[in-house]
Amino acid sequence: MILTKAQYDEIAQCLVSVPPTRQSLRKLKQRFPSQSQATLLSIFSQEYQKHIKRTHAKHHTSEAIESYYQRYLNGVGRNGAAPVLLELANEVDYAPSLMARIILERFLQEHEETPPSKSVINSMLRDPSQIPDGVLANQVYQCIVNDCCYGPLVDCIKHAIGHEHEVLLRDMLLEKNLSFLDEDQLRAKGYDKTPDFILQVPVAVEGHIIHWIESKASFGDECSHHAYLHDQFWSYWNRFGPGLVIYWYGFIQELDCNRERGILLKACFPTDIVTLCHSVA
């Protein structure tokens, strides 16, 4: 699951301009049968997010929004049951859930006196039943259940995966008899930055001292790893010293270059753990 940069690039190459649908995923799995599905999905999702980040702006110009909205209106005018919005999104190479959001926002602007707040929109996306227009509600819902990279369901799945791995990690720590403070305990004490676990007694993993462990239920690619380094890992180091990051779905080998500096990467729970022995005086 630890990929070299070259291996990773090969996979990423196949993901250019692939829509985030279950069909795409199926094909990807066939293309790379040796890689784990979770890893592939994670890479796919991250690549797609990078793609969306790059193109996000061009879909949000007022001209673009207007043109999408008109196309939507025309489409549903012809046939409200057809997957108008989803096809529109795929056609312009944008995430269906995000396209749904654009259209919904535009729709609400037209039909409500006050511009819709973000929370109202989020709530409607979570539960399209709240959308006053039945046709739009169906269209939005269709986009959301068909989008495997964005949308409230995907967010929830990601969150659940993250949580599940934290639980797994906690179990492993308990099993190894390593005492720790978890995020909640740290937050209760008023820590401003909280890794998943701080070890109350540091241990050595593969010869490196670690004070904390962060669980990441995703694949560690360059982009996300650098963002994590900046927002989280170095911040942890700044407060607690060196630590361990577990990318459960693997990572690019070359990124594991800060070991000496105090950030160690693993793709699984480490086996080579040395604990402090209390000398018998």
Partner: protein, 1231 residues
């Protein structure tokens, strides 16, 4: 001055008397009346003697040392003008003295001119040279690897009297002035070293109009312009004109006398010249033609004269009449290792071939003379030498010249070498470990607002990011701190708006500073004694660092000669540059405040008390600890003081002193009213009185070393310098009586003070001028008992750590051996290990009073470790006591508050009223209970302290001592805890109750139900259920298939659907991995699934092609869902969505419409109590509001009526219902 030397040479005056005369202004009873008479007439010159002597020696040596300047620069103009102008302008004195030495005049024309030319150039532009490598106002050099700045060169160039260092002026190698490229070698004083002495070689006459712009023109001898105006008469009555013995009345006469003397000497001196014996193989030399000449004792000329001057010189050194002991030693070692003479004998004889005069002829006529003189001096400095490091001793003992000239000294050195305790020097790389986050000081409660808290959070990260980048890049060529990091730092500083944020940031900055650069080299932390100690302290988790350490061991250490300028080596550079780049007034002010506080705190830290009686092994163990603690405190103080000095004087620092007297006066007037950043004078006086000079002076020196040019002229600091000068003079190493300072303590102080006196900003004349005021500033040191000064707190390791420049001696000697550059870096650098431990808890300052006095007295005769143990225990138990109260009493009160609040909420309805008011009510009820804290706290301390003391003290501690120690510990701990508790318990209770109230109120909020009581999995659960994320993902796939678009062949198998619902059941029962959001989504997805089932929208795989589910299958699946909703979901299931227009609308698309499943579902919901009838009715009612096709509305209305018509039926009616539904459904469908 020459006259004095002459009298000595003529043996009219004994050396002892002369030194006494120099050292003290008053006559001593020991003095022979004749001597006294001889000297008293010279009294006005007394102060000038030492500078004269030093200059004289430098002059002489530089003249004979091969690569030295051909002649010491003497202004030809002045030499011409002076002889005939006794009593003339002040500069006459200087000029006349210069004239004393015929060689000056007789040297070649080129030699005579060169210096003046050089001097001219120098005088015109002293600034740039001096501040070379400086960075504007913070113009201090970077002391990093190999980049040592020829500071002394800079100094030299500023020193008016010095014509340029020998090494700089040498003409043979074209760009010898580049000290980096041409490190001075053997015979030539290594650059910085050589340059330093040269500064005082040639006091240059300074014209009066320029005098103010060059306050430093003279270093060793007070130039006229620098002499306080109160003493003009002394200088006006030029020694050469008035009040002198008749023999000295005129220069001509004196010269005549000297000539005679010289001839006498020549006749007396044995002129045995034995053939030079090769003492060793030719040594490799740096420039190829610089092979060292071998020195031969037999070829020493005017032995007696050399002996005598060596004696005077040594006595001056011993009496601390010279500004810098180690500089003189360095000079002497240079003489010892002089390689070769340049001047020929003819040159020497030229001046007075017939009658060699004692002072007229060059003092050092050959390498033999130099070595002889050096060995003579070294013999008298043996005591100091014996305290040098093993490496230096070895090199000295192995020096063949030394062996040849004084086998006795060599023997003593060898013995000293063999007896020297081997020091294990282990260095840790700068600890890049970050300051850890401490909730007590760093959490939200310590900030005024959320914003401030979060801003600081970001700042901490930016700070370390900047630090890491610096670590990575600062050694890259072309990388510039300001360019690379400046704007980021300023952006960060710009966010520190609130004063409170500044103090937080400063705390972080200061802690990181201490953590990274406690040792002066910035290469590590503190001094540790022995290797085993290091290892035990390192512990397992430091092994990685040890490994890195090994890699760094090879790195050569840079140095800047025996008197390097103050630098910020290693990591210190980061902090210096950070301050400069931040250029934030607020930050600097907060930093100064913080540094001052920490300095005061550490300076007054109770350090080991004497334990002189007990010198067995055990106390030795203790002493290691004491020394270590002292070293850590001292090094921390030095670091802090250096940065305080840097920041405090930063606004005033400039490359040059003010150019005119008027300007200087006005600056002085301004500055004299600015109070000092830290009252260092008071701290110095306290330190001296408490006999803690060994702690106070080294950090004070660091502070002063960063002062600007004006500082030493300010009355406040002038008085400090006076005290320091006095102290310097009083530290006579040979005095070793009861109550004296320990030798190494003295040596440390001499070294740091000597270094300070050479700092460019310290006026050169200060050392020789201040003497007059000394008596007035006597510091009363008698009052205190034996303080730190009398304790052997300084060891060799600490000495070298504080004064790395002493290591220059070793380098000089080593370069002699290797014949290579003194900067080759071939020496193992001295390394100090670091520990991550802090500076130790500060013992609590207890209240005064008899009990405290008794406790003090009790500790007086106990080992210091006892006191530390007791204080430590008290400190910890006291602190734990507070935590204990918090965990017991306060926690109980919080629980009470919670239940009171619950009652309140029950009686007052859900919202419970205004939270602030609620809090007030609760606090008024609960805070009075805080009074119990004191009683409970006392009990806690009483219970816990004795055990801890017992565990930490040795077993043989007498019972009475033990119980007293326990009692004191209990008392101190109680005092500490109760002081805190009585002041803070109410606030603490309040704070905790407030948190509890807001917690409780939040729990009442809308989301509370979701978080309500949750069941865990059963005991037997092995957590093998499918993961929630997997299930959501699977259901999502089914939903997307059902919603479409889908390929014609796509579909779900019935088995898969059943399996999925089965898995959902398992997952909901095993709650190991389930978090509320996931469960909520599962609930919502299950409702969506049910709606799709009801509307028959799920494409089921199976022969022949995807189709709808059979009614019975759908109903079975709905049953499963119903039971999951009823029994397994712990979050609210959004069942009302089943009747949302969108989900009901799904039915509208199906033809024929099947309403039976919906009706079935509604009835079951009611049946299972999942939804109330009224709730369903309301949903159905609102459905009618939506816009539907006409036929659909009608069917919907029928369904509504049907549902309403059905009475609520218990179980047995189920079947009938189904039938009815089926019938009605069919009816509806057909209608």
């Amino acid at each position: 001055m020459a006259a004095v030397l002459e009298s000595l040479l003529r043996e009219e005056v004994s050396v002892a008397a002369a030194v006494r005369w120099i050292a003290r202004s008053a006559q001593s009873s020991e003095d022979d009346p004749g001597e006294a008479a001889a000297l008293s007439s010279l009294r006005p010159l007394r102060k000038e003697f030492v500078p004269f002597l030093l200059n004289f020696l430098r002059e002489q040596s530089s003249r004979v040392l091969p690569q030295g300047p051909p002649t010491p620069a003497k202004a030809p103009g002045s030499s011409a003008a002076l002889p005939g102008r006794p009593g003339g302008p002040p500069r006459g004195g200087r000029g006349a003295r210069s004239q004393l030495f015929p060689p000056t005049e007789l040297s070649s024309a080129a030699a005579a001119e060169a210096p003046s030319a050089r001097r001219g150039g120098r005088r015109r532009g002293p600034g740039p040279g001096r501040e070379r490598g400086g960075r504007g106002p913070g113009g201090l050099e970077e002391g990093v690897g190999g980049e040592s700045q020829p500071w002394t060169g800079g100094r030299r160039s500023r020193g008016a009297g010095s014509p340029g260092s020998p090494s700089l002026v040498r003409s043979d190698p074209p760009n010898l002035s580049n000290l980096e490229e041409f490190p001075p070698v053997g015979s030539v004083p290594p650059g910085p070293a050589g340059t330093k002495p040269s500064r005082r070689i040639n006091p240059t006459p300074v014209s009066e109009e320029r005098s103010l712009s060059k306050p430093k023109t003279c270093f060793t001898s007070p130039p006229i312009n620098c002499v306080p105006s109160s003493q003009p008469s002394v200088l006006d009555t030029s020694p050469w004109g008035h009040g002198l013995p008749p023999g000295c009345r005129s220069l001509q006469e004196e010269r005549e006398m000297l000539r005679k003397e010289r001839s006498k000497q020549l006749q007396q001196s044995p002129s045995t010249t034995c053939p030079t014996s090769e003492l060793g193989p030719p040594l490799p030399s740096w420039s190829g033609n610089l092979t060292a000449e071998s020195a031969d004792p037999a070829r020493v000329s005017s032995r007696q004269r050399l002996e005598l001057i060596a004696l005077v010189y040594s006595s001056c050194i011993a009496e601390n009449l010279v500004p810098n002991l180690f500089l003189e030693l360095f000079f002497v070692l240079q003489l010892l290792t002089a390689r070769r003479m340049v001047a020929t004998k003819d040159g020497d004889l030229e001046p007075s071939p017939g009658a060699p005069d004692s002072l007229e002829s060059p003092l050092f006529q050959s390498v033999h003379d130099c070595v002889f003189f050096a060995v003579q001096v070294l013999e008298r400095q043996f005591q100091v030498l014996s305290y040098l490091d093993k490496g230096t001793l070895k090199l000295l003992a192995e020096n063949e010249r030394l062996l040849c000239f004084s086998p006795a000294l060599q023997g003593r050195l060898r013995a000293a070498y063999e007896g020297s305790v081997a020091k294990v020097s282990l260095a840790m790389p700068p600890s890049a470990q970050a300051v850890s986050f401490q909730p007590e000081t760093d959490n939200r409660a310590n900030f005024s607002s959320d914003r401030a808290f979060h801003t600081f959070k970001k700042q901490r990260d930016v700070f370390f990011e900047v630090l890491r980048e610096w670590e990575d890049r600062h050694e890259e060529p072309g990388w510039d701190f300001e360019k690379g990091l400046g704007s980021r730092i300023r952006a960060m500083m710009g966010q520190l708006s609130a004063a409170c944020s500044h103090s937080h940031f400063v705390r972080l900055f200061q802690k990181q500073l201490l953590q990274m650069c406690q040792s002066p080299g910035g290469t590590g932390g503190t001094v540790l004694g022995e290797a085993p100690d290091v290892l035990s302290m390192l512990g397992a988790d430091k092994l990685g660092r040890l490994r890195r350490l090994q890699e760094r061991l090879v790195a050569p250490q840079s140095s800047g000669g025996p008197c390097p300028p103050p630098t910020f080596p290693g990591c210190q550079g980061f902090f210096r540059d950070f301050i400069l780049s931040a250029s934030s007034f607020q930050f600097n002010q907060h930093l100064m405040d913080s540094l001052s506080l920490k300095i005061r705190e550490l300076n007054s830290l109770a350090l080991p008390q004497p334990e002189p009686s007990d010198e067995d092994g055990e106390s030795d163990v203790d002493w290691q600890g004491e020394r270590r603690q002292f070293a850590m405190v001292l090094l921390s103080l030095r670091l802090l003081a250096k940065f305080l000095g840097f920041v405090a004087f930063l606004p005033y620092r400039g490359p040059e002193p003010p150019p005119t007297r008027e300007l200087q006066d006005s600056i002085l007037a301004l500055r004299s009213q600015v109070p000092p950043a830290l009252d260092v004078r008071a701290l110095l006086q306290q330190g001296l009185r408490a006999r803690r000079a060994v702690l106070t002076v080294p950090w004070l020196v660091e502070f002063l070393s960063l002062a600007d040019h004006i500082v030493p002229l300010l009355d406040y600091y002038r008085s400090i310098f006076s005290v320091l000068l006095h102290l310097h003079r009083s530290l006579v190493l040979s005095k070793e009586s009861e109550g004296e300072m320990c030798f190494l303590n003295k040596l440390l102080l001499l070294a740091v003070l000597g270094w300070l006196f050479q700092i460019p900003t310290v006026p050169e004349d200060l050392f020789f001028l201040e003497e007059g005021q000394l008596d007035a500033l006597e510091v009363d040191t008698v009052a205190s008992e034996l303080g730190l000064d009398g304790m052997p707190v300084v060891d060799q390791h600490l000495l070298y750590t504080c004064c790395p420049y002493i290591g220059e001696l070793r380098k000089l000697l080593a370069s002699w051996v290797s014949g290579s550059s003194a900067r080759s870096g071939g020496f193992v650098r001295k390394i100090t290990p670091t520990t991550t431990t802090g500076l130790g808890a500060q013992p609590p300052r207890t209240s005064q009073g008899l009990q405290a006095q008794l406790a003090q007295a009790f500790f007086h005769n106990q080992p210091p470790s006892l006191r530390r143990t007791v204080e430590f225990v008290a400190e910890r138990i006291g602190s734990n006591c507070v935590k204990h109260i918090k965990a017991t009493l306060v926690a109980d009160l919080v629980r009470q508050a919670e239940s009171l609040l619950q009652e309140q909420l029950v009686t007052q309805g859900q919202d419970g009223g205004d939270p602030a008011q609620l809090l007030e009510i609760l606090c008024s009820q609960l805070c009075p209970h805080g009074a119990q804290a004191l009683t409970q706290g006392r009990e806690f301390c009483q219970k816990k302290s004795p055990g801890a003391v017992r565990a930490l003290l040795p077993e043989e501690t007498p019972a009475a001592v033990l119980s007293s120690a326990e009692n004191i510990a209990v008392g101190l701990a109680t005092e500490k805890a109760c002081t805190w508790l009585s002041a803070n318990i109410t606030a603490l209770i309040r704070r905790e109750v407030k948190a509890a109230v807001s917690r409780t109120l939040r729990a009442q909020g809308p989301e509370a139900a979701a978080r309500g009581e949750r069941r865990g999995c059963s005991r037997a659960c092995e957590h093998h259920a499918p993961l929630p994320s997997h299930l959501i993902s699977e259901i999502k796939d089914v939903l997307s298939l059902a919603v479409g678009p889908r390929d014609p062949e796509e579909g779900v198998s019935l088995d898969h659907l059943e399996q999925l619902l089965g898995q959902l059941g398992q997952t909901l029962q095993c709650r190991q991995f389930l978090c509320p959001p996931a469960e909520q989504h599962l609930a919502k997805c299950s409702v969506d699934l049910a709606s799709l089932l009801v509307a028959d929208h799920i494409p089921v795989l199976g022969p022949p092609s995807p189709r709808g589910l059979e009614r019975g299958q759908a109903r079975r699946l709905l049953h499963v869902l119903l039971s999951l909703w009823k029994d397994d979901f712990q979050v609210p299931v959004p069942l009302q969505l089943l009747l949302s227009p969108r989900n009901v609308g799904l039915l509208a698309d199906t033809r024929p419409r099947e309403w039976d499943l919906l009706l079935f579902l509604l009835r079951e919901l009611v049946e299972k109590g999942l939804m109330g009838r009224t709730e369903i009715e309301a949903c159905l009612g609102s459905l009618r509001d939506a816009q539907w096709p006409k036929d659909f509305s009608e069917e919907l209305a029928t369904l509504f009526r049907l549902f309403l018509a059905e009475p609520h039926m218990p179980e047995p009616q189920l079947r009938a219902c189904e039938l009815v539904q089926t019938n009605r459904g069919t009816v509806l469908a057909q209608s």
